[in-house]
């Protein structure tokens, strides 16, 4: 019994170790981090967090990141909804090819598109705005959202649509009042994946911004290079960066399980 429970305990400790180390560092001073190996902070400090919440160059990083992540998620899912509906309900010429082609967009690494996006957005004056990053990320997120939503929508019998029309619902009214609530779980899962991709993607976000819309991940890497080693501060920023993701996962955890059951996540 004891040996059996030992294995998961060791495994969980192994998983939590980097997170613990990050938190550990975030409560230390930089000197202590560089000074030697300590398992927990000897001189506990909240100064790193205080700095992040008071210095606009730091906290604006979070604001900027959240801004384009939210724009991107809303944009991707609202565009993907009608597209996924079409794929799940209608047969049209080349529908299967189109569906697959959408997915292939995800197969290229973001770096491929960094240069064309940079040039394009500079030319049209979108460079260094949250919209630049949000739009760039839709290239990856719309196909993903269409793929996920199509799975959920195909799980809804088309007789539901017909029943609604028979009851007198017009298409838009049916879509908003009945269909969207019916696939709420799928929308939750799609939002989650769009959020996650956009939140962790660094390369495009860094390339397409400079000062005004600089995301937190860029702030973290740049500070390390300009003002020497502020390891405690970086650790605190890292710890805070985990929070939104954990928050979103907590809300959609049940939907994700459903998504796995449908074989689309």
């Amino acid at each position: 019994m004891r040996a059996r429970s030992l294995i998961p305990i060791v495994y969980i400790l192994f998983l939590l170790l980097p997170i613990y180390w990050l938190l550990n560092m975030s409560f230390k001073t930089t000197n202590e981090i560089l000074g030697g190996f300590t398992l927990w902070p000897q001189t506990f400090t909240l100064e790193n967090y205080a700095k992040i919440f008071t210095d606009p160059t730091w906290y604006m990083g979070y604001v900027n990141s959240l801004q384009y992540v939210v724009i991107n998620t809303v944009l991707s899912v609202s565009v993907a909804l009608p597209a996924a509906y079409a794929f799940s309900r209608y047969r049209f010429l080349g529908d299967k090819h189109l569906f697959f082609w959408l997915l292939t967009n995800r197969m290229a690494p973001p770096a491929v598109f960094a240069l064309p996006f940079l040039q394009l957005y500079s030319a049209v004056g979108l460079f260094d705005t949250p919209w630049a990053v949000a739009l760039a990320h839709t290239l990856f997120n719309i196909p993903l959202a269409v793929w996920i939503l199509e799975g959920f929508m195909s799980g809804v019998p088309k007789e539901l649509d017909e029943t609604a029309y028979i009851d007198g619902y017009s298409f838009p009214r049916f879509f908003v009042r009945i269909f969207i609530p019916t696939i709420a779980a799928g929308i939750g899962v799609a939002c989650f994946f769009c959020f996650m991709f956009s939140w962790v993607e660094l390369l495009l976000a860094k390339t397409l911004t400079s000062v005004a819309a600089k995301p937190i991940a860029a702030t973290m890497t740049r500070t390390a290079s300009t003002s020497g080693y502020e390891l405690g501060l970086l650790a605190a920023a890292g710890a805070l960066t985990i929070v939104p993701g954990a928050f979103v996962i907590y809300f959609v955890r049940n939907y994700i399980a459903k998504g796995f059951a449908l074989g689309r996540v």
Partner: protein
């Protein structure tokens, strides 16, 4: 107030889903569409409802052509085989939804929903979500939604097929009382001939997208115009064989010679297809004219009060259905009696030439 389908056909790509069909459904009538899966029952209903449009032909309702009238404006209701309800609404809102869309006053909605829920024994479940109901209750909710808006045409697409035996029996008894009445047209699709016979009304038999016969149910059952209709409207399947009439005898090649009695007596000599309903083949002779056949027993299904026996008659699998429990030994030869006087005879074009009532 009639619903008339005039020469309608439905084609999807290269597939002909419905061949040219004409039907007139009278107001206040209960109509049954009887046919196997994929025979076109659902497609025909979708055309009647206006969910789908015919490729050719016209649909008239109360004398007006309604081909292009969208389903939302047609005042129809439909209940599907799957239990279709709005999962995000509770039972009350589900039933109320067609009334809400029609912008009825709240007090009137309340009154109507409660009346209908009462009728379908859903009152204690009004606040529940469909997912919290049993299959029977979910289907009752769907029926309530179809009933509440007082539509001119109600389409029931195998509504009892997904229910377990007990619930099916129960709802089958209630159904005609619930839906019939006033001047509404009811169309009920089923794969089961027994169900059609229980409901009465009119029956249209469907086969591969064609209506083979339409008329009062008992009439369609007793006097099938052709072999296909007889086959569709028989459960267990009707027994058939190529026969030759020679003078006073009907000969099933290699199997039996039987006396030509009843309607077969006046049949001119020649080749025919005989159709014998399973309950006209029994282990004991019932009439003097009954003809004996010998067959090898393949399967014997003995249910409470009935014996259904499949036997091999010179390469053909025939079925006998009789009251009471008759012990049969699988693989053994057995002698069964055919009530030849009640069999059907079809000509080379499969048209009925003799038999029936």
């Amino acid at each position: 107030m009639t619903l008339e389908l005039r020469n309608i056909a439905k084609r999807v790509g290269a597939d002909q889903h419905i061949h040219e069909t004409s039907l007139v459904l009278e107001e206040g009538s209960f109509n049954i569409l009887l046919g196997t899966t994929l025979s076109g029952k659902t497609t025909l209903m979708q055309l009647m409802a206006g969910i789908d449009r015919p490729t050719s032909g016209d649909i008239f309702f109360r004398g007006a052509r309604v081909n292009t009238v969208p389903v939302q404006k047609r005042n129809v209701a439909m209940v599907y085989q799957q239990f279709i309800n709005y999962p995000n609404m509770n039972v009350f809102d589900n039933i109320a939804s067609p009334l809400r869309v029609a912008r009825m006053a709240q007090s009137e909605i309340d009154k109507r929903v409660r009346e209908t829920a009462d009728l379908l024994k859903l009152t204690p479940m009004l606040q529940r979500r469909p997912s919290e109901l049993s299959g029977g209750q979910q289907q009752r909710t769907a029926m309530a939604r179809a009933l509440v808006k007082d539509s001119d045409l109600i389409l029931l697409d195998e509504p009892l097929a997904n229910l377990d035996y007990k619930l099916r029996e129960e709802l089958r008894d209630e159904l005609p009382k619930l839906f019939a009445g006033r001047d509404r047209i009811v169309v009920y699709a089923t794969t089961e001939p027994t169900e059609a016979l229980l409901f009465g009304g009119n029956t249209a038999t469907l086969h591969e997208g064609r209506v083979t016969q339409f008329g009062p149910t008992s009439e369609t059952y007793r006097n099938p115009k052709d072999l296909i209709t007889a086959q569709v409207f028989s459960d267990p399947p009707i027994n058939t064989a190529r026969v030759t009439k020679q003078g006073q005898n009907i000969v099933i090649a290699g199997a039996a010679a039987m006396p030509a009695v009843g309607t077969a007596r006046d049949l001119p000599d020649g080749d025919y297809t005989i159709g014998i309903r399973p309950h006209h083949i029994t282990p004991q002779a019932r009439n003097e004219s009954d003809a004996a056949v010998e067959g090898k027993i393949l399967i014997a299904e003995l249910s409470g009060s009935e014996s259904v026996v499949h036997f091999d008659l010179d390469g053909r699998t025939w079925v006998s259905q009789s009251h009471g429990i008759h012990p049969f030994e699988i693989g053994a030869m057995a002698r069964l009696y055919v009530d030849i006087g009640r069999s059907f005879f079809f000509d080379a074009d499969d048209r009925l030439v003799a038999g029936g009532a």
